[in-house]
Symmetry: C2
Subunit: 324 residues, 2 copies
Amino acid sequence: MAEVASAAGVSSATVSYVLSGKRAVAPATRAAVESAIAELGFTVNATARSLRTGRSSLAALIVPDIANPFYAQLASSLQEQLRASGLHVVVCNTGADREEERALLAEAVQQRFAGVVITPFRLHPEDLDTLAEAGIPAVVSADVSFGAVDLVKPDARSATLQALQRVTANQRRRIAVIAGPRDATGGDPRLAMLRRLAPQFGISLPRELVVRGEHTRDSGAVGFTELMSRRERPDAVFCANDMIAVGAMDAAHDLGVDIPGEVALVGHDDAAFASLVRPRLTTIRYPAHDVGVAAAQLLKERLDGRTAPRTVRVRALFVARGSA
Amino acid sequence: MAEVASAAGVSSATVSYVLSGKRAVAPATRAAVESAIAELGFTVNATARSLRTGRSSLAALIVPDIANPFYAQLASSLQEQLRASGLHVVVCNTGADREEERALLAEAVQQRFAGVVITPFRLHPEDLDTLAEAGIPAVVSADVSFGAVDLVKPDARSATLQALQRVTANQRRRIAVIAGPRDATGGDPRLAMLRRLAPQFGISLPRELVVRGEHTRDSGAVGFTELMSRRERPDAVFCANDMIAVGAMDAAHDLGVDIPGEVALVGHDDAAFASLVRPRLTTIRYPAHDVGVAAAQLLKERLDGRTAPRTVRVRALFVARGSA
């Protein structure tokens, strides 16, 4: 570093500022230092280089549940799309815990990742400020807006209408929902959508038929069992995701409840196992591949210099199978 | 940095060597620099800190197929075990491609990850040298030894014996295998184990009943279809993992082959969906949770200074369900 300083005619401290970006350095001085580095063939290791460029070649995908195959598909898609840009994707699992979500964002800053794609679960929009301050582009994949960041968002209205159509066409009137937890960021937009559209079919979602829990298989089993203990049982159950729906199937099996005979069951996402379970799961497909393509596109635009936030909507599709 | 140099009574270059570890510095000099840094409250950012400590607080889990839920379980287990050590786990997907495996190891070095747990697929043992040179501890999870590194390895002999016992007890004699690809590191140890144990049951694995492919659902469907085109069809099929087995079920369904009536099917791993498919999959459970515990333990021992490589064996269990 002393050699670089002497070749550039500046102090070692200045070289350090250029490398670390910790203090502003006049452009001409910076240029002198950089050319001295280049001339001396000063080989910096990657960490030192990331000090200089402020960017590693890793992008983080931060998800609430790595056991949900929806996110594995999203990861593969993102990876495929970013490969040509020389970026590798690392997947970070928050377990739907806000402290983990925040801790992983802090890691992304510390490691100077090239970008972050995140499906927040309990995160608050202001938690993303740390990325913005570090100049790390963020893309949020969520059903609700999330402050002034790039967003990939579903367009699930039409698919939800079709699902309600299918269920009510069979004279089912007592529609239940196993929704996400009350403290999830933005509440449960899938529940909100059902509430908004149900009146078109002459039905409502009575309060006693909405239960809440995590987006997990266990939570689906608990929620379904709870619903079946109601004095008036539901004849259809919508689940906030497919993991919940599979848990509901577990419980239905244990309780001897016939699906779809007694209760129609609708999932959300079309995760890889949705077509493996019996009966095959009727669900609202949120195409993970397309979400990955959109997120990668937004991230690349940011790395290319776009500054104004942009939202891309990805269309969800109703997939009718055996469970409803 | 100049301030630190002056306080420690050394040159800026020396400070830089201490920070980067690029050249050896006498212990007393290093101590002087470090205490000057501490006294001055010199706040280094994380990248600069990783230059000094040579270690980030991320550990990488590098896997061949992030869509295989076995690895999601392994990731969760590893994460849970390493949390108390202040480490976060990032999951990297190689797609079973050697170039990706190598590239991700290079990234782990560049980012100065605290450690790497890897399930190699096509990697060669010498590809790990890059980690050793960078002083980054590696733990390999594999069925075969992998040079002088820490290894988590299955003990599947007894489970495989039970699986063969079960299948042959039903008078099945034509045992087929859908194995991994020929160029996988170490070949296919699960196939080798079957070959070794089959004679105890008076059977062999004829060459025409061993087909090979990737560890994927698609590849399982192709392999099963190929086996069903043999003049003498097999009456039992062992699969190198559960993804292959589920693909075999897809093909059996399409071909109208009854499982287990016509063909018994045995998977390997007991991935999350093994109990979801119908018939439920009979499989050899390789407990992902225990693999994560063992890998975390080995990694922590390395970080605590152990230098001699160690192997931990994790017992596999036969799980009899409906498919065989």
